[in-house]
């Protein structure tokens, strides 16, 4: 009987099975940020266990509130910074070099097919785009990960999503994943790995695959996973070129992690996306989705482009294509947060930042900021935001605020009109 990617990763990383159905896995990468890690550090210190299992397998970044906005957030950053120095964690990214974790770490080449990855952040599932098993965990799991390099999971069950057809013009990975979450619901994949397959995924860039996997948690999924292929090899090549004789050799090695043809799935869903419209959320749950045409015309106060979902260069290019030569509506505040310094610099070189600024956008530094209502763009009571982020819970971006999730294209069109707008007429 064949195995899924997740089953292969579990088998190859198994440290212990203390009870039937519980697998303790060896971790390849433990990622940390300044919101959920400082308490783990404080607890380890209080227990007299201020140690790390490996300085090189731990990566850390200050990204949620940066630059710090007050004494408390400055203290959180300081605890992480001091700890990284104390333990010689070289891959620590502080102000000037820091970006949104799930955009920054892939950009540095830290994730490979077949890896096990945890972080105290629910959107860690993003890294499954590389054919890794990547899961968000709480602070205690993170603490044990830091100390021992292991984490416990239930036996993985996998739902295979065959995304068939081709995405129409103006429809992107974000629309696809919102549509999928709408189909299966916010707990449709709880305790499941969401394996994304099919011609739509094959045709996607790594950036789009990250967008797809990023929102697996919004359907309850433990991780999203895409099959590693030449797109994966091309993305990782600068980091692996000394390890493999050729790209073909790397591809052959990566392919070992792909699910076998006779793998057994918990469920297989065939979804044709050929007629998908740009899709957005209308309520307070990520599964409350509609075609944009059904909600177009509703007024918004703010447009936010950024985050670990859609703050990558590809996203900025798509939005800029629509915004070029235009002004955003006077009733709207436009905020752009390129997800990493590299993306910011590339966007400057390509003239994208000029386009955003000419249109009237405020361009902030890379940070998670407004996405979870912590800094850089929090909403006032009753305000509505058109956002490329991943979560639309009530008050998410500020108490009393409302968030509509959408693609960068739909956000750009919405900024121009000052109300929710279909991006296809601008393409």
């Amino acid at each position: 009987m064949g195995k899924t990617t997740a089953e292969k990763i579990f088998a190859s990383h198994l440290v212990d099975e203390p009870f039937a159905g519980t697998k303790v896995l060896k971790l390849d990468v433990v990622m940390c940020h300044e919101i959920t890690t400082p308490i783990a550090i404080a607890d380890l210190m209080a227990r007299g266990k201020d140690r790390v299992f490996s300085a090189s397998n731990i990566k850390a970044v200050v990204d949620h509130v940066t630059p710090s906005k007050d004494t408390k957030t400055a203290t959180q950053a300081k605890i992480l910074r001091d700890w990284a120095r104390r333990h010689n964690i070289k891959d620590f990214f502080d102000i000037g070099a820091n970006g949104v974790c799930h955009a920054l770490f892939p950009e540095k080449g830290f994730i490979r097919p077949g890896y096990t990855v945890i972080m105290g952040d629910s959107h860690t599932c993003t890294h499954g785009a590389f054919g890794a098993f990547a899961a968000g965990v709480g602070t205690t799991d993170l603490e044990v990960g830091i100390l021992k390099g292991v984490c416990a999971f239930r036996e993985p069950k996998t739902i295979r999503f065959n995304l068939n057809g081709t995405l129409p013009k103006g429809v992107y990975a974000k629309d696809a994943i919102l549509h999928v979450i709408g189909l299966i619901g916010v707990n449709g994949a709880t305790d499941r790995v969401m394996e994304f397959r099919g011609p739509v995924v094959d045709a996607m860039t790594m950036e789009s695959r990250m967008t797809l996997c990023n929102m697996a948690i919004e359907a309850g999924g433990t991780s999203g996973i895409c099959m590693p292929d030449m797109v994966t090899v091309d993305f990782l090549w600068p980091f692996i070129k000394d390890e493999y004789a050729s790209k073909e050799a790397a591809l052959a090695a990566f392919k070992e992690w792909c699910s076998d043809d006779d793998a057994v799935y918990d469920q297989v869903l065939n979804i044709d996306l050929s007629n998908l419209e740009p899709t957005i959320t209308f309520g307070y749950k990520p599964d409350q989705v509609k075609p944009v045409s059904e909600i177009a015309g509703e007024a918004v106060d703010q447009v936010y482009i950024g985050s670990c979902t859609n703050g990558r260069l590809e996203d900025l290019r798509i939005a800029a294509q629509i915004l070029k030569g235009k002004k955003i509506a006077p009733n709207v505040r436009g905020i752009l947060s390129p997800a990493t310094p590299h993306i910011y610099q590339e966007a400057m070189k390509e003239g994208l930042i000029d386009i955003f600024m000419d249109a009237g956008f405020c361009v902030t530094n890379p940070t998670c900021g407004a996405c979870l209502g912590m800094s850089n763009g929090v909403l006032a009571d009753g305000e509505v935001c058109a956002s490329t982020t991943n979560r639309n819970f009530m008050g998410r971006m500020g108490k009393g605020g409302m968030v509509h999730l959408m693609s960068p294209a739909t956000s750009a069109a919405t900024a121009i009109e000052g109300k929710i707008a279909d991006p296809r007429k601008y393409l």
């Binding site: 203390p18 959180q76 709880t190």
Partner: protein, 175 residues
């Protein structure tokens, strides 16, 4: 034997998320105790007052499906813990929240809808209370002069974590 129990807080809605349990703006606190005043602050539910006497008295929460969805923030179980709530009973849980509870030595117990409906029938009883026996995997609901015991399933691993007092002690001894 590890037991939990006491007065019950009924939250009759599915998909109660971690932002509702503890809003992100309080994630700048770096001690668990500092979270205490903000429990369930953003939860809008008819008749529910996050600062009311029922919330203060509660030792167990009973809710519906997909409880704790959203963020990985362990601040959600912690804000319960520092308010004296050490068990949540629901039809289902989001994975990270459920594991966070057990990792802290607390209990996240799943029950079928029919059992939960019986438990919710006590939601207007002023003396509604519950006792959980983790070892025996039973919970007893009482209120309004009635009492009923339910069996629940819990994985051996989760049970071991509760009995060990949490994942850090368990893992540090074993790995």
């Amino acid at each position: 034997m590890k037991t939990f129990g006491g007065p019950v807080l009924f939250l009759d809605r599915a998909d109660i998320n971690t932002d509702e349990i503890i809003p992100a703006k309080y994630l700048t606190e770096i001690t668990k105790e500092d979270l205490k005043p903000y429990i369930l602050e953003d939860l809008k539910l008819p008749g529910f007052d996050p600062k009311g006497p029922k919330t203060k008295a509660a030792r167990v929460i009973v809710s519906r499906g997909n409880f704790g969805c959203g963020s990985s923030r362990e601040h959600a179980p912690w804000v319960f813990e520092v308010n004296g709530i050490t068990a949540v009973i629901a039809e289902s849980f989001a994975r990270i929240f459920r594991q966070n509870m057990f990792n802290c030595g607390m209990a996240a117990i799943e029950l079928p809808k029919a059992d939960l409906d019986q438990i919710f029938s006590h939601s207007n009883d002023d003396d509604a209370a519950m006792t959980l026996d983790i070892e025996a995997q039973t919970l007893t609901m009482s209120g309004g002069g009635k009492q009923k015991t339910f069996k629940f399933e819990i994985s051996q691993f989760d049970k071991a974590l509760v009995l060990a007092g949490g994942w850090v002690d368990y893992a540090d001894k074993k790995y």
